[in-house]
Amino acid sequence: MKEPLSTTGLILNEPLLWEKGKKGRSGFSLPQRDVDVFPMDDNLLGNGPDFPDLSELDVVRHYTRLSQWNYGVDSGMYPLGSCTMKYNPKINERQASLHGIAFSHPMLPAELSQGILKIMFHLERYLSEITGLPAVTLQPAAGAQGELAGMMMIKAFHQNSGSTKNKILIPDTAHGTNPASSAICGFTPVPVKSNELGVLSLESVASVMDEDIAGVMITNPNTLGLFEENIKEISGIVHSKGGLVYVDGANMNAIMGIVNMDDIGVDIMHLNLHKTFSTPHGGGGPGAGPVCVGKDLEPFLPVPRVVKKNGSYFLSQDFPQSIGRLHAFYGNVGVLIKAYSYILSMGSMLKKASQLAVLNANYLKERLKGTFHLPYDRPCMHECVFSDKLQEENRVTTLDIAKRLIDYGFHPPTVYFPLVVHGAIMMEPTESESRETLDLFIEACKAIADEAKQNPELLFEAPTKPKVRRMDETKAARHPYLAG
């Protein structure tokens, strides 16, 4: 066996910012004062926030050390299921930080903002082409806000036709945000069970479908990594009762250029640009969650919308049926720029990216079944879901396996999700990983499965290599220390 991926290295301790500062230091170059002091009323003056004063090098070392305690896609394979941790191309960062883009004010007249408006207009067209749905809003700042926008539009659509439909069907394989997003719009979520094949059956949808159902919210491909193969028929049933079909497009990375959402009866879907379109996750954000809709829902899209007239672009609020505004300005433009840059770099190669993402997931699935229990042994899309069932006899759990993977130099997969699989281990390799990296990961998984049998203590004690060991999360929740 080659030398393993993970090794030890010099990691430095670093205190909290305010344990470090000293009054009188400065890390900031204050501009020249070219105006006189204008005294402010004493009643209004505060004491000023008690922030620590640090030198520039103090700040640089602080954040450099902190960064070294993190694991990112640039560090290594990050097979976090349903999160699509693909490579974030560096060139996209350049485009978003161009002076003309990063320093642009959102409220200048349209004639002074043509560059970004043009980008937004064309990005909408590209996302429309990729999903097959004709109209797009780029405004939602995250996937969850996209879901919220989608639910609001479904509500507005029904209200507009005088209907009082108030329930949303949500499969048991859905993301946790789905029921929360529908509830915020006043809908009652109605759960639907997936069948023994891990997908929604026609019968289960038909059995709960009635005139009160405003729509169905399906993740497709679903969180088991399976394509909802009955989607077209399900759309038919839902439409026949006047309902709408919402697709959570978090997993679009599997099917770019493969499936046209309009053709399969989808009315509305959101995309996660920070997943499918390569924009970085940023330690949790900012992302972007554009929503694509069919013609019937277009009047309800959030405002403002980018409009083209006589060869120039401007923002219009003139859509009387719109659900309104969701963002202080126009959404996470900096993120949109990166996705635009990615789409222009890839072009029609996006289909190849989806093919390779699916190839990688199926390769992992084939090579690891037997090592870990595979509850749904079927061809998968972009991700595959295992469980800890085979390790149960050694009292080893999914959590132990995940933590041990860290010692081997990998970010663990998503764990304990989806809920329909007990002890789920959800792996999404993405197209970015080479065969060699996958093989190394597979080797690590197999070695860990052996350790689970031979020496489970290694797993219970894991991880041992990072800066800190397993954390006491109960203590954190019982006695919350949320600020220093």
Binding site: G283, G324, M346, K467, A476
Partner: protein, 444 residues
């Protein structure tokens, strides 16, 4: 394609392992009638060179400083961002990581967010803060929804002097759930008028922005006392320019129950309005009703200090439809920028910087007054203020645009009764020379 590492040989061997022949075979599990028959109609892939040229050309169509002299804030502020922040935020261990689900290998993000939470509580004078809100507008909407949850009341009052776009977002969020919004008018001095606010016991919250959209500093203390004359009604304070609290009293010391707003000013590029940073802070007693993710301090199994995501039982992945919000992300990278920015300024620097902003705006205000413009609202300001120009100023404004000068924002579209009123802003980035040039143009 440089982002796709697979060679033809890799593909063939991997397919063989799976028992398939072609890449198309991978999609046999999708029914034929669901599969796309046409190819994606997208432009041909661009090389890095061509892409750079394309983007450079688009960026060149944007009007930005220093080429343009822009005296405009209105929710998005041009402040200098130290090179240190730009360099450190580019460390990809930060920006290519996800939400810190695995604390052992996410301590960098977790400690940074913990520090950010602390910075926000110090800045706003509050007890707890999160790093989860998308922007100032949705932070305000979430704050009002939180007050509705806590008080179980269905009506809120919102000052007309809150940024108009924020009020539109509040409308979108609250009307979807059937809650009622009452708008509070403003007084002649450019601050919120609470005199018509009766039946406080019906209101979950009263929301006031300070400095408000006109740039005026509100009397939060007496407003808070008035609002708290009903024991349950919550005082929600908003802001678009948090740098102000480097100089003026913070909302927590003036009675705010939830303080929320936009953090872009503190180290985040304007980027045509997004991504921004929703700041959100409250009193400790409300923490379990807060939306969004929180980072807490704890220890590892060896007793070593570390940080984790905590109080997750409020959240969507556990509570599903009963969650406090559907938000599942952090505004991680923007929060990190702000923490880095504050680490650079320190307490001493932010005070000086805030004072400089104030003094620049006062200089410009006085200069314009001397040039004959009217200052309609006689209330102290931070770095923004409203000016009433003569009714033919529209043409002057257009002429100034041609001279690459943006003389603020006409606020008549938001306040029809205020025709010829413009909102102007000066920060440390606007030089005296540029301000003098604007004053001269107005005079002529």
């Amino acid at each position: 394609m440089r982002y796709l590492p697979h060679t033809d040989q890799d593909i063939n061997e991997m397919l063989k392992e799976i028992g398939l022949k072609t890449l198309d075979d991978l999609f046999e599990c999708i029914p034929k009638e669901c599969r796309r028959t046409d190819d994606l109609n997208l432009p041909k892939p661009l090389t890095e060179w061509d892409l750079n040229t394309h983007m450079d050309n688009l960026a060149a169509e944007m009007a930005v400083p220093p080429d343009y002299k822009i005296f405009l804030g209105a929710g998005s502020y041009n402040h200098y961002i130290p090179e240190v922040v730009k360099q450190l935020i580019s460390r990809s261990e930060f920006y290519t990581a996800y939400t810190p689900y695995q604390p052992e290998i996410s301590q960098g993000t977790l400690q940074a967010i913990y520090e950010y939470q602390t910075i926000v509580t110090l800045l706003l004078g509050m007890d707890v803060a999160n790093a989860s809100m998308y922007d100032g507008a949705s932070a305000l909407a979430e704050a009002l929804l939180m007050a509705i949850r806590i008080t179980k009341r269905k009506k809120v009052a919102v000052s007309r002097l809150i940024n108009p776009y924020y009020r539109q977002v509040v409308q979108t969020y609250l009307s979807a759930q059937g809650y009622e919004i009452v708008e509070l008018p403003f007084l002649k001095n450019g601050t919120t008028d609470l005199s018509g606010l009766h039946d406080l016991e019906e209101f979950a919250a009263v929301a006031i922005q300070s400095p408000n959209f006109f740039g005026c500093i509100e009397d939060l203390k007496s407003q808070g006392e008035r609002i708290h004359s009903d024991r349950k009604t919550m005082f929600v304070t908003a802001f678009t320019e948090p740098l102000a609290y480097g100089l003026i009293k913070n909302p927590g010391s003036l009675g705010s129950d939830i303080a929320c707003g936009e953090g872009q000013s503190l180290g985040v590029p304007q980027s045509f309005g997004g991504p921004g940073l929703g700041m959100f802070a409250s009193k400790t007693k409300y923490v379990r009703s807060m939306p969004g993710r929180l980072v807490g301090q704890t220890t590892d199994k060896n007793g070593k200090r570390g940080f984790v995501l905590t109080l997750a039982t409020r959240e969507q992945h556990i509570r599903r439809e009963k969650a406090t919000s559907n938000i599942c992300s952090n505004q991680g990278l923007c929060a990190l920028s702000t923490a880095m920015y504050i680490a650079c300024t320190g307490g001493t620097g932010i005070r000086k910087l805030a004072a400089l902003n104030h003094d620049k705006a006062e200089y410009l205000k006085k200069g314009l007054m001397d040039a004959g413009a009217v200052i309609p609202f006689d209330t102290p300001i931070f770095n923004e203020f409203v000016v009433k120009f003569p009714s033919d100023f529209k043409d002057t404004y257009a002429g100034l645009l041609k001279k690459k000068m943006v003389a603020g924002l006409s606020i008549a579209p938001f306040y029809p009764e205020l025709s010829d009123h413009y909102l102007l802003c000066a920060t440390e980035t606007n030089t005296r020379e540029d301000m003098d040039a604007l004053i001269k143009e107005v005079k002529s």
